[in-house]
Every structure is written in C-alpha cells, then in structure tokens.
Amino acid sequence: MSDASTLDPFALIAALYILVLAAFVGYEVVSKVPTMLHTPLMSGANAIHGVIVVGAMLVAATAEGPLRIVLALVGVTLGTINVVGGFVVTDRMLEMFRKRPGGRE
C-alpha cells in the first residue's frame, strides 16, 4: 500500500472523491436520528473513529528508536481505549432502549 508521500495524482484524486462522498453519507445518515438517541449516537460515532487504532498498529510495526517506540505505545493504548470503551459504552446505553410492551417501536 502506498502512502500519501508517494501517491500518484490519480490515487490522490480517488482519496478526495472518497472523502467528499463519505462526508455526504455521514450528513444524510445522521440527519434522521431522533433527539432521544443523540447521546448513543455521539458515543457510537466516537467508537467508529476508534479505527485510528489500526493506524497506531501500523506505526508500531515500523517503530524504531525510543521516541517512535513511545509514540507507538501511546498510540496503540489510546486507540484501544477509544475503540473498546466506545463500543462497550454505546452498547450499554442501547441495551436500555430494548423493546418492551407499550413501547412505540
């Protein structure tokens, strides 16, 4: 996989396309969420950006020298907190919205 330091112009443009289209998807999808689910939504979105842990893993794989080792360790730890904590806490919130008699849904 080439990274942006060596990207050819076509790959750059492709990344830009993905960026713009994903932004519209995010906007559209969230516009329909009711107020009562805003807290879980914030928390769920928070868990999704925990995917940064993958970036931290890639950093860890190539880390050399004390500074980059420390950065990799901090990155993997923080990223894991984000992704694990994010999904678990969202699940805990949503567990309480389960279907029950008399419910609207």
Binding site: V33, G50, I52, M57, A63, L73, F97
Partner: protein, 468 residues
C-alpha cells in the same frame, strides 16, 4: 496490485459499510443496538485483518500486547463501571483518547518519513498538509476533551474561565499555528518546529474549551468528536488507508451535523456557544432578582396528595434526578400514580441533563416505557390542562426568563411548565441552575418547593402516594 492488496481494499470496504449501517440503525431504538454491534464486528474485522496480513506486524509485538491490554482494560472498566449519569464525561474521555491517538500517529509518520527522506528534500505537499491537519486537530481534540471531561466531572471549574486578553491569546496561537504550518510545508520539514507545532496545538485545545461554560459541554464534546473524526480521516490519507479515511470522514460529518442539531435545540449558534461565554451576559439581572425570591415550601405528604388526586401529572426530569440516581423511585412513583388512574407523562427538554437524550437513557434504564417520554414540542401545548407538573433538578429548561429579552438565555426554547395548575419543584438547594441564572418559576404563586436531594424526596413522595 497483488491479491492480498485487493483483499485488503475489500475488507476496508466491508468495514466501512458496517460503520455506515451502525449510524443508520441508530435512527430507531429498535435497531440501534444491532447497528452498534454490527459496527463493532466490522471494526474487529479490520483490526484482525491488519494484524494478520501486514508484514512485520510483530516486529514490536510487545507494544501491541501492552497497549492492547492496557487500553482494553481501561476501556472496558471505564465503560462498564461508570454510572449512567457520568456518561457524557466518559464519551469525552474516549474521544480525547482517539484524538490523542490520531495526533500520535501523524507525528510518528512525520518522524519516519523525515528520517527516510534525505536532508534538504521536502516531503510532498499533500502528505505534509494531511499530516499537519491530523496532528493539529488530534491534539486540540485531545486536550479539549480532557478539559471538557474535567468540567463535567467537576475537577475543572464549570463556569466559563476567562482572563483579560484570552481571546487575543487564542488568536495569536491560531496565527502562530498557521505560520508554522506554512513554513513546515513550504520551506523546511524541521522536526523541532513540528514538535513545537504540536505543542501549541495542545495549548490551543485547552484555550478553546476553558472559556465555555459547563452547560455547553455536550455541544463541545460533540464538536470535538467531529474534530477527532477529521483528524482520523487526515491520518487515513497520510497512511493511504481508506478504512480510516471513510470512518473518519463519516464521523467528522455526522459530528458536525449533530453539533448543529444540538445548538438548534438551544436556539443558539455554534459561534455563540464557543465564544460568548454563556452565563456572563445577564449578571446584573441575576443580582437584582436574587434577594426578592419568596419561595413557598411544601411537605412531601402534601405534594403526594396533590399528585394522587390530580388527573394528569407531568414529570420534568433534570440533572438533579441524574446525580441522585432517582430514576428508580421515579418509576415506582409513576406506577403508583398510574394505578390510581392518574395520567403520568415525562416532559424531556432537548438539553435536559448534560446531553441530549441523557434523561431518556436514565429513564429507560429504570424501565419507563418510552412512549411516556414526550419531547418538548409534543407536550408544550398541553401544560395548560395539567394539574401538577413536577420538576426535578430541572432549571434552565423551564425558566420563563427565556421568553424575555435581556436574559442570557433569551430565546432558548423552554418547557411551558409555568402554565400548569400546580407546580412542585424538587430542588437540592436554593441555588441557580447550571447557567447561573435565577428562575422566576420558583417564586411563581402556583409553585411550591420540596427541598432536598431528589432520591429521598421522591422516596418520600412514593410512601406519601401509597397512603393517600
């Protein structure tokens, strides 16, 4: 492109679709949980795929082991142990962790690539811009989230903290960051200057959130969530990783629209939230009204009788219910009143508690069916027909001052509690609300006050209703 690479791109695509579905399924309580689990599964797929297919992943295996273990333990314990009332803080801290991780990844990538490039050779402009964006936004999100956590947790002063010239300092920091960025991109990929750039960004995060009042922290957390998304997208661009790019952009965009929705619920602009220093505008008004308040107290027994013989009771939960963990007794009270043929509903202000939907989460935890929870627009016209409205630690969201000019909360939509026949306010002390503004509702002739912590107060009401 070999087969492994093709498969990697496909795995990213599958993961990205699960993220989109996770957000989409959140549109209804019935599907929300399944959506979140689907997103988690997609996330696990991407992480495991990366772990098993990237060359040299185990070169520093102990980093993955230690970081993964420590992170998982903190994440699970934090998420499982934290009381539902402290949810907003928890989201803030998880978000800060993500922002910090994004900044760290951007810094490490910069160090690696400057190390590889020969001296005097500049890194490509798109690469540098994305790296700097990831570093600066991630850093701001990191320290900003920590301050937001501190304010919600009560470690950092919740009031807007301002000092003379603080806006000048913010402006100067911003300009310095822009100047450094231009220099770093165009003239010199200097490591010390890059680290200085990140350091200033960390300070900017503190500087941006400190002047914002605690009541506005939910909006800030939502905005910082969006920032972290953007930082992750930028890092994804740097790494050429589409999973990061798509997930980050999704969250960046959805966080931005969510922030907008939250501001609209308070009838304020984002600019006003970020820079106005809520609670500093109407100080004179606040001082004037304070001394004249005549509050009438009511005993729990009398309040119980009032409710038990009413035909319609609307409960307006606020932060007081959350801190006292009174949602269980509140449910019991509802059941008793329903058994006596009283119609019980809950009126939820869009920003009640510390986050939109905070009250819904708590009441759902106590098994209050969600068709009894009414949003502001649904119930506001019905208050005139209501016999008893009961506030619980609700304050700013029921403050009639919001209908008048010249108050700091002017124009904020409120619940029309003051139109009810009787109003009972449960309140811990005589203080003002989170926004620091007096509430004329409390001195309204129809209002009686039941002082005390919400939980014992509601329990007293429960036993009162049983006897009534």
């Amino acid at each position: 492109m070999d087969l492994l690479q093709v498969l990697t791109y496909l795995v990213w695509l599958v993961g990205s679709v699960t993220f989109i579905l996770a957000l989409k399924f959140l549109a209804s309580p019935a599907t929300a949980r399944r959506g979140n689990q689907l997103g988690a599964a997609g996330m696990a797929l991407i992480i495991l795929w990366t772990f098993f297919t990237v060359d040299g992943m185990l070169a520093n295996w102990w980093i993955l082991l230690v970081g993964g273990l420590v992170g998982s333990v903190i994440g699970v314990l934090g998420a499982r142990r934290v009381p539902m009332t402290a949810m907003p803080q928890m989201v803030a801290i998880f978000n800060g962790a993500g922002g910090g991780a994004a900044a760290v990844v951007a810094i490490a990538e910069f160090l690696r690539d400057t190390g590889e490039a020969g001296s005097g050779e500049l890194l490509s402009v798109p690469f540098m811009i994305a790296t700097l964006l990831g570093a600066v936004i991630g850093s701001v999100s990191f320290t900003g989230s920590i301050i937001a956590f501190g304010k919600l947790q009560g470690i950092v002063a919740a009031r807007p903290v301002k000092y003379p010239g603080s806006q000048v300092v913010t402006g100067a920091l911003f300009l310095a960051l822009v100047a450094l960025a231009v220099y770093l991109v165009a003239f010199d990929n200097s490591v010390p200057l890059f680290l200085l750039f990140c350091g200033l960004a960390l300070v900017l995060g503190v500087q941006l959130v400190m002047p914002i009042g605690g009541a506005d922290m939910p909006v800030v957390v939502s905005l910082l969530n969006s920032y972290t998304g953007i930082a992750v997208a930028a890092t994804g661009f740097v790494l050429g990783n589409y999973a990061l790019l798509i997930a980050g952009t999704l969250v960046g965009a959805s966080g931005a629209i969510l922030t907008q929705l939250m501001c609209r619920a308070m009838n304020r602009s984002l600019f006003n939230v970020l820079f106005a220093g809520f609670g500093t505008g109407g100080e004179a008004l606040a001082a004037g009204a304070e001394g004249e308040e005549q509050l009438r107290e009511i005993s729990a027994e009398d309040a119980a009788v009032l409710m038990a013989y009413g035909s319609r009771v609307v409960i307006v939960p606020g932060y007081g219910m959350a801190v006292a963990q009174a949602q269980g007794p509140v449910r019991e009270l509802m059941d008793l009143l329903l058994a006596k043929g009283v119609d019980v509903q809950f009126a939820i202000h869009p920003v009640a508690g510390r986050m939109p939907g905070h009250m819904n989460v708590l009441l759902a935890e106590a098994n209050v069916p969600y068709d009894r929870l009414k949003e502001m627009d649904e119930i506001n016209d019905d208050f005139g027909e209501t016999d008893v409205a009961r506030g619980m630690g609700a304050n700013d969201g029921v403050n009639p001052l919001a209908r008048e000019e010249g108050s700091p909360i002017s124009g904020m939509p409120i619940l029309n509690v003051d139109q009810a026949q009787n109003i009972i306010v449960l309140k811990r002390g005589r203080g003002t609300g989170f926004a620091g503004i007096p509430n004329p509702l409390f001195s309204n002739p129809k209002t009686t006050m039941l002082f005390g912590d919400a939980k014992p107060s509601v329990e007293a009401l429960v036993s009162g209703v049983k006897q009534a």
